[in-house]
């Protein structure tokens, strides 16, 4: 009886019982008939037989138990035997378990990341009805969208930007803490269907009057982390954004917010956002989400929203475009589409950036798993060959083939279970590590990487698949031996067994080359990116973000201040800025310091149209950045022509002096001299004439990948960022500098301090993640492939010891013997390498968008993976080849 039908017995015991019942019933009736024939009355015979049989029920149980118990018993025996067999080869087993658990763990980590960021639906009521509008919108626009589509979809809005803000809680003794707030519509919780864990949530009545609803709802995680789940915090007041807010409740534990990757500490009503922004249609700060009414298709809602959107565009076009605006740009603007996307799994900026990299990593770790599994299959095949005698012996004493397959499968299942358990541990460490790599350290991403049934189911399927993958072939092979053939030890069969390992090794080599190739491309790209000449010196450059309540840190429109409308405050900021620079430069260790509106690579920018004398408005809008005069020296940006900015350039004049970058000079003046030329900066409110006094070299502005865009440096009037170049390690000066800055003026506050190099590195997070992880797994894959190759080669040398001995005895050179071993390996590797390279070149298109100045057919792109594979292959072949060369003919021939 095969183990399958035994398993079926366990699952369908009623069938077994029916069969037994039939069998016994027949016996009883036959016995009664016999007695009746000898003249005993039927009822007497029945009684007699019943007594003889005893309890029929007990009998049935005993018989059934034999079937089920003996199966369980054989299973247990196989498990014990399997453990013994695996422990006998502790080193090999250990290596197999380690590689397998690494691969399974990596796959599990990849799955839990992808599940958390991409697949898992939002934990709210009917998430499939949720949608979001692509883009960022102003509050007036949101209100008109909401009215227009009221019958189709319930819309709500929330703050799009993620920025930490400062709060002071009553129990902290005045200490300032950073919190992650989420401004959102009052009816958002109701539309989402979120319940409170404590107190109440925001209601529509909390979101009516600008500035009139100082209430906040805490997230459950924040409540637990910050207040230890203290219920008395509800009703308490705290300071947030320099205003008093009351905590009215805590959201349900299951609701972390609507944006995967983003941690929310507290929710406050949109009405508490900047009052001006609530009425200004050109300040765009909201993400719009909504729930479709039952049986409304997304397209129906979209077409209604599109009409409203087109109306906004027309209104905006008349406001922002000049009469001489290029026609294409106006048309493009007017015809743009509004996209409605499913928000079932929540809109996520993190997903937008990392969806593709994560899938790529998943494919990479999938390949590692295949390599690891084929390595284990290799091991089991080799062992199956070594166990042929054991198997054939067991076959010949009557063990069923099914029994032998069961034995081998149990051994592989044991291995897989251990690997899964270790893999889960590995994933528990690896998952959070990857999450940390997704976002800059000062603004970490948050992903809920819990081990739930989805992860466990994935792990289970993975374990079962790998067991099948590496266990079944060896199992069939091992049990398929013909006792006679093996017991007489025909050597021909053994070589054919080694041949059977070759496709596996070739596959491994192929997969690992695919990995090496892709990882090589990503690593080379990353290397190119990090060594790109940025046009400024990022080393030892500290950036301080400075905010001030009283001074406009960034005047809404610097040109208007020049026109005399708000010059008072603008001028004050300028003066304080100069004082600040003087103070900072006195701090020992500071070499240079400068101020700017914002830092390079901060992700912020401001652009406006320009018009050269006698020409129409230009099709592109250059960037504008206000800087203090010594900005170029501090940043290490080289002056090409003319002079840098000077303090007097900031004095109100009708014509303002500016410095442009080389990209600007090239675009507008070609080879001609740019210094001394004038152009108009065209803004909706006013047009200002600017004069170029100098040209500086290009400095990358917001992206390492892209060359500097045309950029105009204006004399500063407000500031937000202070650059400090230090002589030594800048981190040690942070506290001293912070005190020096805040001592200049009571309203100044340092809200952030970080290195310029960090900002630049944050620009390459995706590339860094891909390069590091793919590089790591490529090395793992290469190691595994090398181990596989080594195993097969040394096994084949052992099996051919006799043949090699004979050849050496007949006068063959050692070199020839080594060559025969190496040739074998080389052919296998060559086949694998050709396949791998073809696969790699095919897959290269999927990583194309992440490459930078690297092509798949470049010399290094090809040489790096092939070279490392050759090295690993050579290393793997050295020991077996040496062993082959050292075979002593006498010993080898005595062996049999």
């Amino acid at each position: 009886m095969s183990w399958l039908s035994r398993l079926a017995n366990v699952l369908r015991t009623s069938k077994v019982e029916r069969d037994l019942e039939d069998e016994l019933q027949f016996h009883i009736e036959a016995r009664i008939d016999e007695l009746v024939q000898t003249g005993v009355p039927r009822h007497v015979a029945e009684g007699q037989v019943a007594r003889r049989f005893g309890s029929r029920l007990r009998l049935r149980e005993a018989s059934r138990d034999v079937k089920i118990v003996s199966w369980l018993e054989s299973l247990l025996k196989d498990v014990r035997f399997g453990v013994r067999m695996l422990r006998k080869d502790a080193v090999v087993t250990g290596a197999a378990v380690m590689s397998l658990s690494l691969a399974i763990g990596a796959c599990t980590a990849a799955f839990s990341l992808i599940d958390a960021l991409i697949l898992r639906p939002l934990p709210v009521r009917a998430p499939e009805q949720l949608i979001y509008l692509e883009g960022v919108f102003s509050y007036p626009h949101f209100e008109r969208f909401r009215e227009a589509a009221r019958s189709q979809v319930e819309l709500f809005a929330m703050l799009e930007a993620q920025r930490r803000r400062q709060a002071v809680f009553p129990d902290a003794g005045g200490a300032v803490e950073n919190v992650r707030p989420q401004f959102l519509s009052g009816d958002a919780f109701h539309i989402l269907g979120v319940q409170p864990a404590m107190g109440r949530l925001l209601a529509p009545s909390d979101d009516v009057k600008p500035g009139g609803h100082p209430v906040a709802v805490l997230s459950h995680a924040f409540w637990m982390r910050r207040f230890g789940g203290d219920p008395s915090v509800v009703g308490r007041w705290f300071t947030f954004d320099d205003r008093a807010f009351q905590i009215i409740g805590v959201a349900d534990r299951t609701f972390p917010g609507v944006e995967p990757g983003r941690l929310v500490d507290l929710w406050v009503p949109n009405m508490m956002w900047d009052a001006e922004a609530l009425t200004d249609p050109s300040t765009r700060w909201l993400r719009i989400l909504g729930r479709l009414k039952p049986s409304v298709e997304p397209e129906q809602a979209r077409s209604i929203l599109q009409a409203t959107f087109a109306q906004f565009r027309r209104e905006e076009a008349s406001r922002i475009f000049q009469p001489d605006e290029p026609r294409d740009r106006v048309q493009h603007f007017l015809n743009s589409q509004l996209y409605v996307r499913s928000a079932e799994n929540g809109p996520s900026a993190l997903r937008r950036d990392f969806e593709r990299p994560l899938w790529m990593l998943a494919a990479i770790v999938g390949l590692v798993l295949l390599i690891a599994a084929s390595n284990v299959a290799n091991l089991f095949l080799a062992r199956a060959a070594a166990r042929e005698r054991e198997m054939s012996l067991r076959l010949s004493i009557g063990a069923g083939r099914g029994r032998l397959i069961q034995q081998v499968l149990i051994e592989s299942a044991l291995l897989a279970i251990v690997a899964c358990a270790l893999g889960l541990l590995f994933a528990a460490v690896a998952g959070p590590t990857v999450v940390r790599m997704l976002a800059p350290p000062h603004n970490p991403a948050y992903l809920d990487l819990r081990v739930d049934w989805r992860v466990l189911a994935f792990l289970g399927v993975l374990g079962a698949l790998t067991t099948m993958l590496f266990g079944l072939a060896p199992a069939l092979r091992a049990s398929g031996v013909a006792p006679i053939g093996v017991l007489s030890a025909a050597s021909g069969r053994l070589t054919s067994r080694i041949r059977a390992l070759r496709p596996l090794v070739a596959t491994q080599v192929g997969f690992s080359l695919v990995l090496l190739f892709l990882a090589g491309l990503l690593l080379l790209s990353f290397g190119k990116l990090t060594s790109t000449n940025l046009g400024f010196t990022k080393a030892r450059l500290m950036l301080f973000t400075i905010e001030s309540r009283e001074l406009p840190s960034r005047p809404d429109d610097p040109d208007e201040t020049v026109m005399g409308e708000r010059s008072g405050s603008g001028k004050q900021a300028h003066v304080i800025g100069l004082q600040l620079l003087e103070q900072v430069r006195r701090v020992p260790g500071v070499q240079r310091a400068s101020l700017s509106e914002w830092a390079l690579f901060s992700g912020t920018g401001s652009n406006s149209g320009i018009r050269l004398p006698g020409r129409a408005l230009d099709a592109i809008r250059p960037l504008f950045l206000e800087v203090s005069p010594d900005f170029f020296e501090t940043m290490g940006i080289r002056l090409i022509a003319g002079r840098p900015l000077e303090p007097r350039d900031a004095e109100p004049e009708t014509r303002r002096a500016v410095v442009v970058n080389d990209a600007f000079a090239r675009r507008y003046f070609g080879g001609e001299r740019a210094v001394g030329r004038v152009f108009d900066r065209v803004k909706s409110a006013a047009t200002v004439q600017l004069e170029i006094v100098g040209v500086v070299a290009d400095a990358r502005y917001g992206s390492v990948r892209h060359p500097a865009p045309p950029l105009v440096y204006l004399p500063f009037r407000g500031f937000r960022t202070l650059q400090v170049r230090t002589g030594g390690e800048p981190a040690v000066l942070v506290d001293t500098l912070r005190q020096a800055i805040e001592a200049v003026h009571p309203s100044l506050q340092v809200t952030d301090a970080q290195l310029q190099s960090t900002l630049v590195d944050n620009n390459m997070l995706r590339e860094r993640l891909l390069a590091l992880l793919s590089g790591f797994f490529a090395v793992v894959g290469l190691l595994l492939a090398a181990v596989g190759l080594y195993g097969v080669l040394s096994y084949s040398v052992v099996q051919r010891t006799k043949e090699i001995g004979i050849r050496l005895a007949l006068g063959a050179q050692q070199l020839a013997v080594v060559r025969s071993v190496v040739t074998d390996a080389s052919i296998t590797m060559l086949i694998g390498a050709v396949g791998g390279l073809a696969g790699g070149l095919y897959l290269a298109r999927f990583v194309g968008t992440f490459l930078y100045e690297v092509q798949p057919f470049d010399f290094w792109s090809l040489a790096l993976p092939v070279g490392s594979l050759l090295c690993a292959g050579a290393l793997a072949a050295v020991l077996p080849a040496r062993r082959a060369a050292r075979v002593d003919p006498v010993v080898a021939l005595r062996y049999e």
């Binding site: 069998e23 027949f26 003889r52 018989s63 118990v69 004493i397």
Partner: protein
């Protein structure tokens, strides 16, 4: 629970194997009848122990069973000796003779 080989130490499996080998496929009732007739009703088979024994032997692979239809159109389970069963019988028979011989020897000379 029971150790498979130990539980088959008694004489019943030996008799069952011998009868099945001599008479060909039989059902459980047939086996009882044969044992009883051949031993002149001296050996009486306990139905209570026969079926568990048969099933254990089947598990051990000494006999195999299949469903057949009897002359009275009843569904019956027929048992048959396997190659492994034959080897087992040889070994068991030899051991049985040795043991009984030894016992007889002791009885005779004690």
């Amino acid at each position: 629970m029971m150790k498979r080989h130990d539980s088959l130490q008694g004489a019943l499996p030996l008799l069952v194997l011998k009868i099945l080998l001599r008479r060909g496929p039989l059902h459980g009732y047939g086996i009882t009848l044969h044992i009883e007739t051949m031993s002149d009703e001296v050996l009486r088979v306990e139905e209570g122990s026969l079926y568990p024994a048969l099933h254990r032997m089947e598990e051990a692979g000494w006999i195999k069973a299949r469903w057949a239809v009897s002359e009275h159109k009843r569904r019956v389970r027929m048992y048959e000796v396997t190659a492994a069963g034959r080897r087992q019988l040889e070994a068991e028979e030899g051991r049985w003779h040795a043991v009984t011989g030894a016992v007889a020897h002791v009885l005779k000379h004690a």
